[in-house]
């Protein structure tokens, strides 16, 4: 019926632009591999089963946090409270565990505490018009404050606690040398599940798509009749609960914690998300990118240490590496845009 319109609307090449959105994430993959290869070539210890194993085991928590942080950032928001939520849930969790509360119950309480802070952040943002940055900054102070009010002691799990199952390493390949063992633990599995959950949530649920829509334009999303408010609550609730989960994994892993745990982790998580190609102003990005970002972020520290970077220079070098990374992504994207 409408040949006139049909003719003039020539379909551009399929999926071209979608690919471009993935470029930063792909760049993260390439750079991660390059870093591993460089580490191996120079120091000979990076392509070792032991190294890979502990990369995942030691950073399961960061992977979870990176997934958590991806949600608010996709909407153009942020959740600065994740590190502090790790602290308060850890402190409460350990206190309870030491009081003889069964592990499962402790975990549930930890997750609930996370949920309370997520709900608080959501309420401040949605009901009182606070910007996410400020709202979660407040809940961060609050969570950390309450954590230190509860206890400033270094708390350790009682013997034979049921948390240990998360940390117990499962060896797949058990070589005589520990550096050649391939192993993982339940924490890694939890992280993996979180990643899969994040992927499905963002790409295969309506709420997930609404998150992207809000990131594109909140007012449009509202006028399109999407449940923006509910979604915002979901986001901050989810990120806080995931932070509590990260806390479970982390504390189980090292067997102890205290109120100062998790200082600065929110920034590590943000860095991971950004390295993974998610744009801080929202609308574009992938959970898988964030996971890669977390791995890249994790590998920066051993690299600087192996390079023998003088102590004063380490933060500069880490900063520069992230910068190079971001600039590189930017360049790749610019080239993509031109083509």
């Amino acid at each position: 019926m409408t040949t006139a319109t049909a003719n003039k609307v020539k379909a551009p090449k399929k999926g071209f632009k979608l690919d471009r959105q993935m470029i930063p994430t792909l760049a993260a993959v390439v750079i991660f591999l390059l870093m591993i290869i460089m580490g191996q070539a120079l120091f000979g210890t990076y392509i070792r089963l032991g190294f890979i194993s502990s990369l995942f085991i030691d950073h399961a928590y960061l992977i979870i946090l990176a997934v958590a942080m991806t949600l608010p950032i996709l909407t153009g928001g942020i959740d600065l409270s994740v590190g502090a939520i790790v602290a308060i849930t850890a402190v409460v969790g350990l206190k309870l565990a030491n009081a003889g509360v069964p592990a499962i119950l402790v975990m549930v309480v930890m997750l609930l505490i996370g949920a309370v802070f997520g709900l608080l952040a959501g309420t401040l943002i949605e009901e009182f018009n606070m910007q996410p940055f400020i709202a979660t900054l407040s809940t961060m102070f609050l969570a950390r404050g309450i954590a230190s009010i509860i206890s400033t002691d270094s708390l350790t799990f009682p013997d034979n606690n049921n948390f240990a199952f998360i940390a117990n390493e499962i060896k797949i390949i058990d070589n005589p040398k520990i550096s050649n063992d391939l192993s993982f633990n339940v924490g890694v599995i939890i992280a993996l599940i979180v990643v899969i959950y994040g992927y499905i949530f963002l790409h295969h649920t309506r709420t997930g798509r609404t998150i992207y829509a809000i990131g594109g334009s909140r007012s449009s999303a509202e006028l399109m009749g999407l449940p923006v408010k509910r979604t915002q609550y979901t986001i901050y609730l989810t990120s806080a609960i995931l932070a509590a989960l990260a806390s479970i994994v982390y504390t189980a892993n090292i067997g102890s914690a205290k109120n100062t745990v998790g200082v600065g982790w929110e920034l590590d998580a943000v860095a991971s998300v950004v390295i993974g190609g998610t744009i801080i102003t929202g609308g574009f990005g992938y959970v898988l990118g964030s996971v890669l970002g977390a791995l890249v972020r994790s590998i920066l520290d051993p690299l600087t240490s192996d390079f023998g970077v003088p102590a004063e220079w380490t933060t500069i070098v880490v900063g520069l590496m992230i910068l190079v990374f971001v600039v590189l992504q930017r360049a790749v994207m610019a080239v993509g845009e031109k083509k």
Binding site: K8, V9, A11, P12, L18, R209, T210, Y212, L223
Partner: protein, 512 residues
Amino acid sequence: MTDKTPIVVMKGITIEFPGVKALDGVDLTLYPGEVHALMGENGAGKSTMIKALTGVYKIDAGSITVEGKPQSFNGTLDAQNAGIATVYQEVNLCTNLSVGENVMLGHEKRGPFGIDWKKTHEAAKTYLAQMGLESIDPHTPLSSISIAMQQLVAIARAMVINAKVLILDEPTSSLDANEVQDLFKIMRKVRDSGVAILFVSHFLDQIYEITDRLTILRNGKFIKEVMTKDTPRDELIGMMIGKSAAELSQIGAKKSRREIEPGEKPLLEVKGLGKKGTINPVDLDIYKGEVVGFAGLLGSGRTELGRLLYGADKPDSGTYEFNGKKVNISDPYTALKNKIAYSTENRHDEGIIGDLTVRQNMLIALQATRGMFNPIPKKEADAIVDKYMEELNVRPRDPDRPIKNLSGGNQQKVLIGRWLATHPELLILDEPTRGIDIGAKAEIQQVVLDLASKGMGVVFISSELEEVVRLSDDIEVLKDRHKIAEIENGDTVSQATIVETIANTNVNGKEA
């Protein structure tokens, strides 16, 4: 007709914004199976009325009943659940997502593993096809299609909800004649299925073509509800503007062509100006006092060419001479410095600076050319603002209101004032009359002619061929990002001439 039971009844709706009563006791009744138009000048309160119905704004007084039930929606979502689908005046979609997703957002087809993307995209395709967009791949990013096409996408989106009420706020303002016809076909089909359609447009022809019933607003007040077929045009215009139609300044028939004197140097002369992927190299001359129209279908590259002339995009080929001098127009600043101004078609994203006041919006371009540290003296500023508010009849006449609170049409007028304040020698107007009421449209057309007669060169880009033909001395015809013809306007030239040219010429300039 009146024996039908109404589906929506709005009574005594009053909405007050700080300082303005946008609506004051307005009634509106929608019947199933009818197309109902909200009529009124810019700022009369049409969009506000719509937002009141869908719960975007809270009403201060009045009542809304939908299907006999009193309702107070808390936003589009609630309205949608009650069967009201809305396409707002400013396109409200998400540019970061694909076309298909925008159509289906919130209504994605689900399978056992959450959203089934294949089915969703297929569904999107059928809805897009209804709007004549069957050749758009639903995976295309929304940001890569034009505003006009986005408008169609927004309408396709409204079709997804099996609505009982369909609200379209100025859906046709950026469409060309063909698309308007396509849209009307769909509207008729929808109407015949028993849906009530609320329609807003400033095109009287369209109103008479498609609507059954009219509600007329003026200055936020309810004037009258009438049947379209019983209301002559003059009477309608009279009710809308509050004075008799005859008083409307009439723009004469076709403007007489400005003759170029032999040996006269053009004001602007570009050769081979182009940018890969957006517009193929174009030669173009514009003389002082000349109005040059750009005609073409949607996506033909008119906007792109305008943006190249203004330096909003960087050309990658061609030469550019202005006033006999070679210039390098690398960005809008240099363009303005060279006395070239460009008024965008994308008012919302590239035009208004929403939170700034009308005054600031009007002065900002002039200020930019003067430099940050050379503020415009207050007296001069006041004079400029007063002058253009008056000349362009901006309402309300309060320069200290944020521009985002003005109605769409009045925003457009402020923007035109902004460019005129820079005293350009070449003014590029991209869809300047889009969304503007009949009175104001005539005013703006008059302004264009006046400016030209004072020696300004004007590029006039519009999807309404009628006004292009009426105002232009020369018409550049574009197709598929090529300039395919240059038509000297004259008595023999009509809209049909241009349509034929587009149909019969291929991009190499040869007869097809």
